[in-house]
């Protein structure tokens, strides 16, 4: 039986949901549906915004929005926040360590080859000190809940986690449509996120920067599926949205090409993968990228956020060692637990996984977006057998976890409020200080019983409230 976040098993409404429940009862299901249609119309109007920009004019796809907010109490958030900060700090300490002396590996806490032979590890980064020793400036941590007190980390995202625009837009729509809900000031605002992000990015200006740092957001271009978010964030921060062809490197500095001639750039919030950053340093066949960008970075002429190679910290094979990192670097016990994970790469893990595949969730180490994943209890015998063959062919490429009883959140159904599984992605900013806006992205599986919340597979999003008291 999954934990329902709105209601205790005895039917009592949990305190933090009192306001939401009152509003649901007041509005009625029919009223909610009417408002939902309105919300959808607004989304369609600002619309474009959430569309997936598919070339070839695919019908614009909106990520479904569910009207009912997900609520955390002040106390719940405090604990989450501590856990998130702790994790973001440890992940950055780990990144500094593996690109320098590798103490945690020397101490035998993590197998060396798991790091040094990992495709996500970038030898080019060895021995380099990024400004403030920060590698991952925006850490997105995917969290699931399995009980009133039980929060567990599903995975970390240290490269360029996306989805923060939903957090901001969902709140914006809710505030616009239901000003009364927010009038009492019960809900902590999240709209200072862009300002905090800009502050964070400016704090990691490179040594060569003089004066107020010039920050730009580097996007692969308008064909990228997250382009909306890129332009949205650039607009809210009041910074230039640039593509690789807008930049060039000279004299160890990065310049943007403007109508008034070249202008210096100090910090690049890049939403482009390592491989495509610089054809002279990484993939030579890449047509994207700014030649010499990495040289300027190592020369202290520009800061890249996140640092190339930050992906080693969110690798699924490294994930299991994060609690170890927290103990090693911070001398603390992890506040947020990991989900027990079997590595198919070791013989013991492999044997267990193959024997219990029908009960487990198995994933590819380098997969993402919910693809290439097997949910044992929902799979047919043939699917399980086929997946077992894939694991046997390349055990190191797979991990498995128990099927969790994810908590459910109230969701607007056809005729009633229904329970649907959800997860949560808060965004922790890391500069000179760590900053966290009270909220994040709640993704919800809109199909009954489904555990897959990815928007590419029928997931939706909803507003997330953190109460003031």
């Amino acid at each position: 039986m999954s934990f329902f976040e709105m209601q205790a098993p005895d039917g009592a409404i949990r305190a933090c949901y009192a306001e939401v429940k009152r509003w649901i009862d007041e509005t009625g299901i029919e009223g909610l549906h009417r408002r939902m249609d309105e919300a959808e119309a607004i989304f369609r109007r600002i619309g474009i915004t959430f569309a997936v920009y598919g070339e070839g004019g695919d019908p614009e796809r909106l990520i479904p929005f569910d009207l009912l907010p997900r609520v955390f109490s002040r106390l719940e958030w405090q604990r989450l926040e501590q856990g998130i900060r702790q994790r973001a700090q440890a992940l950055n300490a780990f990144l500094y360590d593996v690109y320098h002396r590798g103490e945690i590996l020397r101490a035998g806490h993590i197998p060396q080859e798991l790091v040094y032979l990992n495709p996500a590890f970038r030898p080019e980064m060895l021995g380099f000190d990024p400004p403030g020793r920060v590698y991952s400036h925006i850490v997105g941590i995917d969290i699931v809940r399995t009980g009133p007190e039980a929060f567990e980390v599903l995975e970390d995202n240290c490269r360029t986690p996306s989805g923060v625009s939903y957090m901001l837009e969902n709140r914006e729509i809710m505030t616009r449509m239901f000003p009364g809900l927010f009038a009492k000031g019960l809900v902590t605002p999240v709209d200072n996120y862009p300002a905090l992000l800009l502050k964070t990015l400016k704090e990691v200006a490179p040594p060569a920067c003089k004066g107020d740092p010039v920050v730009v957001l580097l996007t692969p271009g308008s064909l990228n599926s997250a382009y909306y978010e890129h332009s949205f964030l650039a607009d809210l921060m009041g910074i230039e949205l640039v593509e690789p062809m807008d930049l060039f490197v000279e004299n160890d500095r990065v310049w943007k090409k403007t109508t008034a001639g070249p202008r210096l750039v100090d910090v690049i919030y890049r939403r482009i993968d390592d491989d495509y950053l610089d054809p002279l340093a990484f993939r030579p066949d890449s047509l994207l990228g700014v030649p010499g960008l990495f040289h300027a970075y190592r020369a202290g002429g520009v800061t890249l956020c996140s640092a190339p190679g930050a992906g080693i910290a969110d690798d699924k094979a490294i994930y299991v060692y994060v609690p170890e990192m927290i103990r090693f670097y911070l001398g603390e016990e992890p506040i947020l637990a990991n989900i027990p994970t079997w590595q198919c790469g070791d013989a013991e893990g492999l044997a267990y996984v193959l024997a219990h595949l029908g009960e487990l969730v198995a994933k590819e180490v380098h997969g993402s977006g919910g693809y290439g994943m097997l949910i044992g209890p929902h799979a047919t015998k043939a699917e399980i057998a086929a997946y077992a063959d894939r694991i046997r062919a390349n055990p190191g490429g797979f991990i498995a976890q128990p099927t969790l009883e994810l908590s459910t959140v109230p969701t607007l159904g056809e005729t009633a409020v229904v329970q649907r599984h959800a997860d949560f992605r808060p965004f922790c900013l890391v500069g000179e200080q760590m900053r966290l806006v009270p909220g994040g992205l709640t993704r919800v599986a809109l199909t009954e019983g489904s555990l897959v919340v990815n928007s590419s597979q029928g997931g939706g999003v909803k507003d997330t409230w953190v109460l003031r008291s």
């Binding site: 474009i48 650039a234 949205l241 593509e243 062809m245 807008d246 943007k256 109508t259």
Partner: protein, 309 residues
């Protein structure tokens, strides 16, 4: 502002303007084609010539409406077809999506693939509707920009792109049709030339305006004057040059410096100023038109150079 943004806005406006001009030309071709003796004159060919697409007509013989619809409206491989222009205008617009207003973007984005499914027969059957649709898109876009777009440098680049394209369309039309406007055709007189002239005016949506300025008499001198020198008719070369000058001036202020393109636009301006009161005829209409075409091409190149496109 980023050079790429300036270039995208400049080209977005040019392509949209080009789509609209081409639509107007097709309307002119239709009018001409129903006149007596049209087959013998191969009127549709001049439409292809104005758009620089004559080479797309292979196989000899006179050019038909079917050919023109295929080449100028639908052909995705012809960079000058309305279909290509709309696709390119949208592609340029999408790259600078955040610099456009919602309404501008919608005008570009709405049914930009409209012509993809059409075959020639179907397009011919619906031709007036389709042509109107293209013109309306361009009008909606301009209107949205007029009331909604911030007047930053991007707006200037966009307007300059549109003005250059519009001036060039008028010039190319004059370049192909100049012979009907030569003084000696006066003596020929009669219906045919009258129709030729009015069609030229019609292609530029200038028939009524012409009457307001010059009364009911069509003379080559007046028509040339109207299309080249008149500073109140928005499709005249002179009006477009005024627009270019004013927006280039704003850019100069904003960037704190004059560039070669400012000299060139002044040169074109002088040329037209000196062509007043029939002087452009005395110097040779055709030569003047060709010189203006050359200078506007140079101007476009120089703008790209001056602002690092």
């Amino acid at each position: 502002m980023l050079s790429r943004t300036a270039a995208n806005l400049f080209w977005m406006a040019r392509y949209l303007e080009r789509a609209e001009s081409t639509a107007r030309l097709i309307t002119m071709g239709q009018r001409m084609a129903v006149l007596p003796g049209s087959a013998y004159r191969d009127e549709w060919r001049s439409v292809l010539r104005v758009t620089g697409c004559e080479s797309f007509h292979t196989g000899g013989g006179p050019v038909t409406e079917e050919d023109v619809v295929r080449i100028l409206l639908l052909d995705p491989d012809n960079p000058a077809s309305i279909q290509s222009c709309l696709v390119r205008a949208r592609a340029n617009g999408r790259s600078v999506r955040t610099k456009l207003t919602q309404e501008m973007w919608e005008a570009l984005n709405l049914s930009w693939r409209r012509f993809e499914g059409y075959d020639v027969g179907q397009a011919r059957a619906e031709l007036p509707t389709l042509i109107d649709w293209v013109k309306t898109r361009a009008c909606v876009f301009r209107g949205a920009a007029e009331t909604g777009m911030m007047r930053h440098a991007g707006h200037d680049f966009m307007r300059i792109g549109g003005a250059i394209e519009r001036a060039q369309m008028t010039l190319r039309l004059l370049d192909v049709k100049y012979y009907v406007l030569l003084p000696e055709t006066d003596v020929v007189g009669g219906g045919r030339d009258h129709y030729q002239w009015t069609s030229v005016l019609h292609a530029l949506s200038g028939s009524r305006a012409y009457h307001h300025v010059y009364g009911g008499v069509h003379t080559p001198a007046n028509i040339s004057d109207f299309l080249m020198i008149n500073r109140t008719f928005p499709r005249s070369v002179a009006y477009c040059v005024d627009q270019m000058r004013s927006h280039l001036e704003r850019l100069a202020m904003e960037h704190g410096t004059l560039a070669t393109c400012h000299k060139t636009v002044d040169e074109i301006f002088e040329l037209l100023l000196n062509g007043q009161d029939g002087a452009i005829f005395q110097r040779g209409l055709h030569e003047s038109v060709q010189l203006c075409l050359k200078l506007t091409n140079r101007l476009a190149d120089e703008i790209a150079d001056s602002y690092y496109f």
